[in-house]
């Protein structure tokens, strides 16, 4: 029973990592850039929601606030692309990496300025109850996280696989110039993908804030989400979710069965092992570079 309990709570945590990792993968798939600020996006999404819902701020109805928060984050993502990232069009990956790290710093500073530095929790209806299945206790939030994440991943996966805009996004990243020749408005497509990443981050943020408290350094779970994305192989949406689940499940088990101090290393040690033996992740999509 204990194992099952650990497994389920690990899965719920892993889904949050998976959602953040989904954001990385989205942006990577469509712009060939890696957004190191995705964790901070998530934190920002959570704070936007807190700002809308919590009584000391605006005090809106939770279900009314969800679409508003999603819209705000989508707009923010699009604006960020328009003002900052579009200047980096065609520049090397590493320049974008450093740029997004800096963006993360600025976002954290801005969030601290607006919402303060104390940990806050979202007034969420998901907080209300627990569900008992035999000896296993699951909070409503945990179940919501798992369901929403599975739905999100499925929807995004199908979006990239089946729909025209999804294919256009993939084409835009695979060869920017050829995508232009095919009549794809590459820059606008990239803007759309940043907006989409904002939405995914907001969903992750709302779920994260419903499970526990948020403070401005919550964005650092982005690093664990990195481990998730790398383990799954950047560029694969189901891979990202898989990686997130693996990291999420390993954590509680390591905390339970390894001596203290060693448990928080587990995800990073796993990341390093995966990178050493499978340099492009478990679901690799890269072959030797051709000239």
């Amino acid at each position: 029973m204990e194992v099952l309990q650990l497994l389920l709570s690990g899965l719920a945590n892993g889904c949050v990592y998976g959602l953040v990792a989904l954001g990385f993968v989205l942006i990577y798939k469509a712009t060939e850039a890696v957004n190191f600020a995705q964790g901070d996006f998530m934190m920002l999404g959570a704070y936007v929601m807190i700002g809308l819902v919590n009584p000391q701020f605006m005090g809106m109805n939770f279900w009314l606030a969800v679409p508003v928060a999603l819209l705000i984050m989508a707009a923010l993502g699009y604006l960020l692309d328009l003002t900052v990232l579009r200047h980096m069009f065609g520049q090397s990956q590493t320049a974008v990496v450093i740029l997004t790290i800096a963006l993360g710093f600025v976002i954290r500073f801005a969030a601290g300025l607006i919402w303060g530095h104390e940990p806050q929790s979202l007034h969420s209806p998901l907080r209300l109850g627990d569900v008992r299945l035999g000896d296993v206790v699951l909070s409503l939030a945990d179940i919501a996280v798992i369901v929403v994440t599975l739905l999100m991943t499925l929807a995004l996966w199908q979006f990239f696989q089946r729909t025209k805009p999804g294919l256009a996004m993939q084409a835009a990243s695979q060869n920017q110039m050829a995508a232009y020749y095919m009549g794809i408005p590459v820059k606008r497509v990239q803007g759309a993908v940043w907006a989409l990443a904002g939405v995914v981050a907001c969903v992750a943020g709302i779920l994260y804030a419903s499970k526990g408290t948020v403070d401005i350094s919550s964005g650092f779970i982005g690093i664990k989400a990195f481990a998730a994305a790398v383990i799954g192989g950047f560029g694969s949406l189901p891979g990202a979710l898989m990686g997130g689940l693996i990291v999420g499940v390993i954590e509680p088990f390591a905390a339970r069965y390894l001596p203290a101090g060693y448990s928080q290393i587990a995800p990073y040690a796993l990341l390093i092992i995966v990178l050493v033996f499978r340099p492009h992740g478990l679901f690799a999509q890269v072959r030797t570079k051709k000239v």
Binding site: M88, A102, Y262, R287
Partner: protein
């Protein structure tokens, strides 16, 4: 504008292209050597000690920055994990001192051992490119943070270690009692590392570094052993970072896992980008920015009459970095080079001389 008529290969790889350049750098070194007395004359007493401490801080950051510059600027491998090697250098140095070694030996040996460890770690990292390498190194930095806590016997765990008092050439090195001594230690290290770096750049190995940065495939085609070159770059870079870390920890007086957390390595990377990626000058300029920014900000908030804002430093730093990447990707030193060309050509400089070429990205993925 001066023209150098190169008549032999030696002319091409000389340390200083002409007497003018040589005298410029010689003057700089002389001024730096005389700085304690200049400060004493200008500020007097305790204030001079404070500013000397700030200069020492700049030089220490510059030593660590030169380490990352060698890897990122010269060899083109982005590392977000140099804080791990700084921590390693620092704790090695402390433990060597505990074992009864004299400081100079412990210090140099700490650098060498850090470099060896770095080279060993580079072997699995060789297969990784770009983003994967940065994530790998980021994971290393986070692991190092936890390892410092776990290896309590040597590192003192979360409580950390106090920097022991040590003597160098008969002088007791205490930061407060002897700021001059610390300044000269940092200056000496910085000069030694810079000379080593500069000489490396004009050796076949240094040119191999640059070739690997520009294109691994063409470097391979030219007969460069890419794996060996990258391993050496990693090792040397970690050695410099270890020296910088040892100085930083000892200068701070006490250090634990938090002193070298992964934000330090991100800060280091940002520093060399603001200074100018790929230039030795860039490491020093970036170090000056990073060391003086907190002072400048606290003066600015004092001037505005507001209370201190938490996190302001990091936020402003991020904003500065974004501005640099968007508008001046070559950093402060690149800006100076452009200015110099403009001055040298004065009426004839053209606006589009440094225009970035339009480029398009292609993926390496198959699906």
């Amino acid at each position: 504008m001066r023209f150098h008529f190169k008549t032999s290969y030696d002319h091409d790889i000389r340390l200083f292209p002409d007497w003018w350049k040589f005298s410029l750098y010689a003057t700089l070194v002389l001024v730096m050597l005389a700085l304690p007395w200049i400060f004493q004359g200008v500020f007097g007493g305790r204030t001079a000690g404070f500013y000397l401490g700030e200069m020492t801080n700049v030089l220490i950051w510059a030593v660590a920055g030169l380490g990352l510059m060698l890897l990122t600027g010269t060899t083109g491998q982005v590392s977000l994990g140099h804080s791990a090697f700084m921590a390693l250098g620092c704790f090695l140095c402390v433990n060597f001192l505990d074992a009864g070694m004299p400081f100079l030996l412990a210090f140099v040996l700490a650098g060498i051992v850090t470099g060896l460890v770095g080279a060993v770690i580079a072997v699995p990292a060789l297969k990784l490119h770009g983003v994967y390498l940065s994530i790998f190194t980021l994971a290393l930095a986070i692991l190092a943070d936890d390892l410092v806590v776990i290896l309590e016997h040597w590192t003192g765990g979360v409580n950390g270690r106090m920097a022991p008092d040590f003597t160098l050439f008969g002088a007791s090195m205490n930061r407060w009692a002897n700021p001059q001594g610390w300044y000269f230690l940092a200056l000496g290290t910085a000069i030694a590392v810079t000379l080593l770096y500069r000489n490396l750049l004009r050796s076949p190995l240094g040119r191999a570094f640059a070739a690997v940065r520009d294109s691994e495939i063409s470097a391979q085609a030219m007969g460069i052993d890419v794996a060996r070159t990258k391993t050496l770059a990693f090792g040397l870079s970690c050695a410099f970072a270890g020296l910088g870390g040892a100085l930083m920890g000892f200068f701070a007086g006490a250090f634990n896992n938090e002193t070298f957390n992964f934000l330090i390595s991100i800060q280091l990377l940002m520093m060399i980008i603001i200074g100018g990626l790929g230039f030795i000058h860039g490491a020093f300029l970036g170090a000056a920015v990073i060391a003086f920014l907190p002072q400048a900000l606290s003066m600015a908030t004092d001037f505005m009459g507001s209370a201190s804002i938490p996190g302001l430093e990091v936020g402003v730093f991020g904003a500065i970095l974004i501005a640099f990447i968007l508008f001046e990707p070559m950093g402060l030193y690149g800006r100076w080079l452009k200015l110099r060309v403009w001055l040298e050509l004065f009426p004839f400089a053209r606006r589009d001389m440094f225009r970035r070429q339009k480029s398009y990205l292609k993926t390496e993925r198959l699906r």
